[in-house]
């Protein structure tokens, strides 16, 4: 019976079928962070239970930790230090590995789990964070859960899960120059909607994915959850193996040989059947930006914000009207005419070295518009060091960007730093109402688009390089 990649991953991790349509799934790794992991650890302790396999549980400080230079435990988030202290204490008592505030390996969980080789192809991993699906880029079965499920995962090393459906999105054709993985995924969501993958594990495939570096695949898988997916997946290939080799927690010697042999079987069989299939022609995709308050509300840069009356579906029309009101945009406004106040590069979507290089490549020798405030927040301390070794920090600073310590930062507002009331071009994943601050108006775009828009002061795609 031919199997999809997801079928194989499910089979490898199936402990038991307890009945009632559920499967008991083995978890190879559990990742936590101070925002939602702290309460899971605390609740577990209060129930008198312990972590089953602490050596396979990892924790980072990313959500609440400050990203301003010279940081410590103090954070602009009201009561934020509570989360940091509680996480540190619980992690110590539980005996799990913590990448603390100033650990050289600290960073956004989904970024460091990959770059440290903690999560490897074929592994199962959960984290109480919806963007855990990012790690599907390695061919891992990675999905986001709540804190109660995290407690269950910690105590038992397993989760009871209803099996999701399988879905494949094939990206055919060549990706035009200047079009980033972020544009591909936002285009996909805008075309098929924010519920297009609800209840499904989505495998991204096709020539454009095969040609895409692992970091780009991470951007794609990261936003699978924004179309409702259980997770996103890319089959591990030579690029994946090259990416993983030599990472701190990656196997070596005989174990490495054994692991790579195992990984080579992790792909969808050619005649495997998916519950759902979508195809996208990459040649038709342009740099894309959101205009509304959900990632599905997006258009190619250079076109116009839609008129709510143009939607046949009355729900979509009402949603568009509400979104335009919140975004303070008139129907039919050209995206080029949207003036921004701020620009943000960072988050688990787009804060890896390749993202920073793409933005810095544009910013070299340029300045941001005088009315724009711009921030660059590397996804990990390691990304930050690598970028500094290449001099990227100087490019960002000379262009007028703030250069920050690693963390989630202004991807979301937790009561401290804020883009409140401002219009932001952002390399993040969510343009929800108030996500980046009360009244903040977020437009999602690729790091390259953020850089170009910051310089022009208006939403712009980067000019094609001649």
């Amino acid at each position: 019976m031919p199997e999809t990649l997801f079928d194989k991953l499910w089979r490898i991790h199936r402990v038991a079928d307890p009945g009632q349509g559920e499967c008991l799934v083995h978890l190879d790794r559990i990742f936590l962070h101070e925002r939602t992991g702290s309460v899971a650890l605390l609740s577990l302790e209060q129930s008198g239970r312990t972590v089953r396999s602490p050596e396979r549980v990892f924790c980072t400080m990313d959500h609440i930790v400050d990203t301003r230079p010279g940081r410590g435990d103090a954070t602009s988030v009201p009561h934020g230090a509570r989360f940091i202290a509680a996480t540190r204490d619980s992690a110590r008592r539980a005996g799990i590995r913590l990448f603390d505030v100033n650990d050289p390996r600290q960073g956004i969980g989904h970024v460091i789990a990959a770059e440290l080789g903690i999560v490897l192809p074929g592994m199962s991993v959960v984290c109480p964070d919806s963007h855990t699906c990012t790690l599907g880029a390695l061919g891992a079965l990675a999905w986001g859960i709540g804190s109660t499920e995290a407690e269950h995962a910690l105590a038992t090393g397993t989760l009871r899960v209803s099996r999701p459906g399988s879905m494949r999105v094939s990206f055919d054709g060549c990706v035009p120059a200047g079009v980033a993985p972020k544009d591909l995924i936002v285009h996909l969501i805008s075309r098929f909607g924010s519920r297009a993958a609800t209840g499904h594990a989505v495998e991204f495939a096709g020539p454009a994915i095969e040609a895409m570096p692992v970091e780009g695949r991470a951007t794609l898988c990261n936003m699978a959850v924004e179309m409702g997916a259980f997770t996103g997946l890319v089959a591990p290939d030579e690029r994946t193996v090259r990416y993983v080799r030599g990472r701190e927690y990656a196997p070596t010697g005989g174990l490495w040989e054994q692991a790579t042999r195992h990984w080579s079987g992790l792909h969808s069989d050619c005649d495997a059947r998916f519950d759902r299939e979508l195809r996208v022609d990459c040649a038709a995709i342009a740099p894309t930006v959101t205009w509304g308050t959900n990632p599905e509300q997006a258009v190619p840069i250079g076109s116009r914000v839609p008129d709510p009356d143009s939607f046949a579906d009355p729900h979509q029309a009402r949603a568009a009207a509400r979104a335009l009101k919140y975004m303070d945009l008139a129907p039919g406004t050209p995206t080029d005419a949207i003036r921004i106040d701020a620009a943000f590069i960072g988050s688990c979507t787009n804060s890896r070295l390749s993202d920073l290089r793409a933005a810095a490549g544009y910013l070299k020798g340029r300045r941001i518009a005088p009315w724009v405030r711009a921030l660059c927040v590397p996804g990990s301390s390691s990304v930050k060091r690598a970028a500094e070794a290449e001099g990227l920090h100087e490019v960002f600073r000379r262009a007028g960007f703030e250069w920050r310590e690693a963390g989630c930062s202004l991807c979301f507002h937790a009561g401290g730093e804020s883009f409140g009331g401002q219009r932001v071009i952002s390399s993040t994943n969510r343009n929800f109402q108030g996500r980046q601050g009360p009244g903040a108006r977020t437009h999602l775009g690729s790091p390259l688009t953020v850089a170009a828009s910051a310089c022009r002061g208006y939403i712009r795609a980067a000019e094609p390089i001649a």
């Binding site: 009945g19 008991l24 269950h152 937790a414 009561g415």
Partner: protein, 210 residues
């Protein structure tokens, strides 16, 4: 932790029918100030419920601030309710406010799991049926209460009208009995041990860490 069992619930339903209401909206991150599952009810829908951010000055336009809806224990919601962030605080906030059930055409998957594990019933009801319930409830929200029976999977609304719903058997059992999921799984500890013993041979690199 054992959630409160859900068998039959009768209560006032409040319609919040826009689609894609995300968990950032259900509880903004700035409202999460304690490492705790408690103290979140006041932060529920804070961005819509209060006139200004951080204040507790009710916005009279928001449905849960209006008349009978202040006592709502059921939400009628639009598609993809609870999409976005995995924050379980959204569910804890709903629970603290007094919400026992949410009816929507679809849900964010993590949110729906979180509901089940906290004794809140998240039921998939198609858009047309939500529309009919909405019309009826709005006519007189205090009198036109819904009665949700999980045992026989029926929602009783206007006289003689019953709406059947589907729910995964495992979730139904968990909710009906208010089970502690960890205790249930730990009964299978030997199956987990056996799985890991065999898996260590096949995938040793998963278990051997530097």
């Amino acid at each position: 932790m054992k959630p409160q069992p859900f068998t039959v619930h009768r209560g006032i339903a409040a319609p919040l029918l826009r689609r894609n209401i995300d968990t950032d909206t259900i509880i903004p991150s700035r409202e999460i100030q304690l490492v705790s599952k408690q103290g979140l009810g006041d932060g529920l829908f804070a961005g819509w419920r209060y006139r200004t951010p951080g204040s507790r000055d009710p916005d009279p336009d928001f449905i849960l601030n209006r008349g009978a809806y202040r006592d709502a224990s059921i939400l009628l919601a639009g598609a993809n309710f609870g999409c976005g962030s995995s924050r379980e605080h959204a569910v804890w906030a709903l629970g603290e406010f007094g919400i026992r059930a949410v009816l929507a055409p679809s849900f964010g998957s993590i949110f729906r799991n979180n509901c089940t594990l906290n004794g809140i019933l998240a039921v998939v009801v198609d858009e047309a049926a939500i529309g009919r319930l909405d019309d009826w409830v709005r006519a007189d929200p205090r009198r036109n209460q819904l009665e949700i029976n999980l045992e026989n999977r029926l929602i009783a609304w206007k006289a003689g009208e019953l709406l059947a719903f589907e729910i995964e058997p495992a979730n139904r059992k968990l909710l009906l009995q208010g089970l502690d999921g960890i205790a249930v799984t730990l009964q299978q500890a030997s199956a987990i041990d056996e799985f890991e013993a065999a898996d260590r041979v096949v995938r040793p690199w998963v278990y051997r860490l530097p």
